[in-house]
């Protein structure tokens, strides 16, 4: 492209030079005609190249993509998990199950996987162990809509 522009500039400058240098006379108009034909030739010179050459527009499109900041997403998930751990602990306390520690993990679909640690659990009315897991499952299922298979228990 640069060569072409230089050629066009050159031919126009040459025309000017000829125009200035040549004395007034009959031959002047023929020379001018020749110069303008030359200029036209120079102008159309890159056209065959343009029509034959395959300009590859795809090169500008197939570069790297912009995607969500995975690190930030992880941190946001962390904030969400922490919030829900606290919320579930509070909910259980309100239902007379004290000191259960909760771990919430978000899966791919941002759905909850809840793990309940029962080591320090204090039960209000001397209920037995199996009953507690059932109770917790029931509470979480009823009040938070978390399916039973998404809840794990550890002693």
């Amino acid at each position: 492209m640069g060569v072409w522009i230089a050629a066009v500039t050159g031919i126009v400058a040459l025309t000017l030079l000829v125009d200035i240098i040549l004395p007034e006379g009959e031959s002047n108009k023929y020379i001018k005609a020749v110069m303008s034909i030359l200029t036209t030739f120079v102008l159309i010179q890159p056209l065959p190249a343009v029509s034959s050459e395959n300009f590859d527009i795809a090169q500008y499109f197939e570069t790297e993509s912009v995607s969500a900041d995975a690190d930030l997403e992880y941190r946001l998930d962390g904030i969400k998990q922490e919030y829900w751990e606290n919320a579930i602990e509070k909910l259980l306390t309100n239902n007379n199950i004290e000191n259960a520690s909760i771990k919430v993990v978000l899966d791919e679909e941002k759905d909850f996987l809840v793990t309940v640690y029962l080591q320090n659990v204090v039960i209000a009315d001397n209920q037995n162990h199996i009953f507690i897991t059932k109770l917790i499952t029931q509470i979480l299922e009823e009040k938070l809509g978390i399916a039973a298979e998404r809840i794990d228990f550890y002693d």
């Binding site: 492209m1 522009i5 066009v8 500039t9 126009v12 400058a13 025309t15 000017l16 125009d19 200035i20 240098i21 001018k32 110069m35 303008s36 200029t39 102008l43 527009i57 500008y60 499109f61 570069t63 790297e64 993509s65 912009v66 995607s67 969500a68 900041d69 995975a70 930030l72 997403e73 941190r75 946001l76 998930d77 904030i79 969400k80 919030y83 829900w84 919320a87 909910l91 941002k110 009823e142 009040k143 938070l144 809509g145």
Partner: protein, 397 residues
């Protein structure tokens, strides 16, 4: 009579006060009393999420720009101001700032334009009266000497503006690559998956496709158009006006196609995705609220809080991104607009005194400079649409 009027106005006052009191009572009745407790939790959540954003990178980027600071505030301060509803970007302040740039650029560019005007006037005095003072050929030579001086002066400026435009475009690309991952992360945290799936490829197309094409295809075409506008005005015999116009229109056609396709697809798909996500989030809220009969929306309220904080942070961050976009483009655009105006002024001043070719040259340079403005503003507008759509995504409240 007078007393009557006084009485009625007094009554009216009482009526207004009574209505106001009633409204206040109603408002107090409708607003839940524990709103402040929730507010604290919301603030905590938004602050936590705001801190999770990487602000240093953005600050570094902002410092690299010529338009340095936002009223001496850090981006994070602006962001927290926006979240708490304290920071408002006054259009008055902003327009004052823009006009400040405008007039300072005007003052600093005026001398260069005066040089062009002086040389053109000299040329007019010496060469236009060629039949009287010098011969035809000598007059023509003098004209070329003067014209070359004008061309060199003008093109030096034009070249710096072309560089500035390229820089603004690459800076916009950097800004997109800095801002969009964060916004997309917030959107996927909110759960608007469809919108993320729409915006991700569109933003990639803007950042990599359209800006690359602007830098590598459209800018060279504009430069060619500049060069031809110089050559075209060298001689009265060899006119290249039409090919100059062709290159200008060619550049604008490519940009127009990219702009139309991008904004049409993005707005249609974006609005669609926004509505879809809003409805599915609303449906989720509704389902949980009705699923829980007794505690009555414990989860739904909680979901509200987490969601609300994410949405607040997303929107405030979007506004910060818009401010940064403004900071990127304000300076180069004002520079170009001012120089364009001054070129037209110069052409206007020298028109009576000098050769037509110089006037035409200056006019066509100013027309070409407008293409650069259009390029910057067009890309900025596309990015603006993206951010605006992101801000309007999934605002379920």
């Amino acid at each position: 009579m007078n007393k009557n009027i006084h009485n009625t106005s007094f009554l009216n006052k009482y009526k207004i006060i009574a209505v106001l009191c009633l409204l206040l009572l109603l408002a107090a009745f409708f607003f839940p009393t524990d709103v402040f407790a929730d507010d604290d939790e919301l603030t905590e959540l938004t602050e936590e999420q705001g801190n999770a954003i990487d602000w240093d990178e953005l600050e570094d980027f902002l410092e690299s720009l010529e338009t340095g600071d936002f009223q001496d505030k850090s981006l994070f301060e602006i962001f927290s101001g926006l979240i708490h509803g304290e920071y408002t970007v006054g259009s008055g302040d902003f327009s004052q700032y823009v006009f400040q740039i405008f007039f300072s650029r005007l003052a600093s560019s005026l001398p260069s334009i005066l040089t062009i005007v002086a040389v053109a006037a000299l040329c007019g005095l010496l060469a236009k009266n060629k039949s009287n003072i010098f011969g035809k050929s000598t007059g023509e030579l003098i004209f070329f000497v003067c014209f070359s001086v004008i061309i060199v002066t003008t093109l030096a400026y034009v070249w710096s503006y072309v560089e500035a435009t390229k820089k603004a475009l690459t800076q916009m690309k950097t800004l997109i690559n800095l801002v969009m991952p964060t916004l997309l992360a917030f959107m996927s945290a909110i759960g608007s998956k469809v919108a993320v799936a729409v915006y991700q490829p569109s933003v990639a197309l803007l950042a990599n496709g359209i800006i690359e094409i602007a830098c590598n295809v459209i800018m060279p075409l504009i430069i060619i158009s500049f060069v031809f506008s110089v050559i075209s005005n060298l001689s009265n015999d060899v006119r290249l006006d039409k090919i100059t116009t062709f290159f200008k229109n060619f550049a604008m056609a490519i940009f127009g196609i990219s702009f139309t396709i991008f904004s049409a697809f993005l707005s249609v798909q974006g609005i669609n995705a926004n509505v879809f996500d809003s409805i599915s989030l609303r449906a989720a809220k509704y389902a949980t609220k009705n699923y829980i009969p007794i505690v009555g929306g414990y989860l739904a309220e909680g979901l509200d809080l987490v969601l609300a904080s994410s949405i607040l942070v997303k929107n405030a961050f979007g506004v910060v991104a818009l401010l940064m976009l403004a900071a990127v483009i304000v300076f180069p655009v004002m520079e170009l607009v001012v120089f364009n105006l001054l070129m037209q002024l110069a052409a206007g001043i020298i028109e009576p005194i000098t050769d037509e070719r110089i006037v035409k040259f200056l006019t066509s340079v100013s027309k070409n400079l407008m293409l650069l403005v259009v390029l910057i503003l067009g890309v900025a507008l596309m990015f603006f649409i993206v951010i605006l759509l992101v801000i309007s995504t999934a605002n379920v409240f």
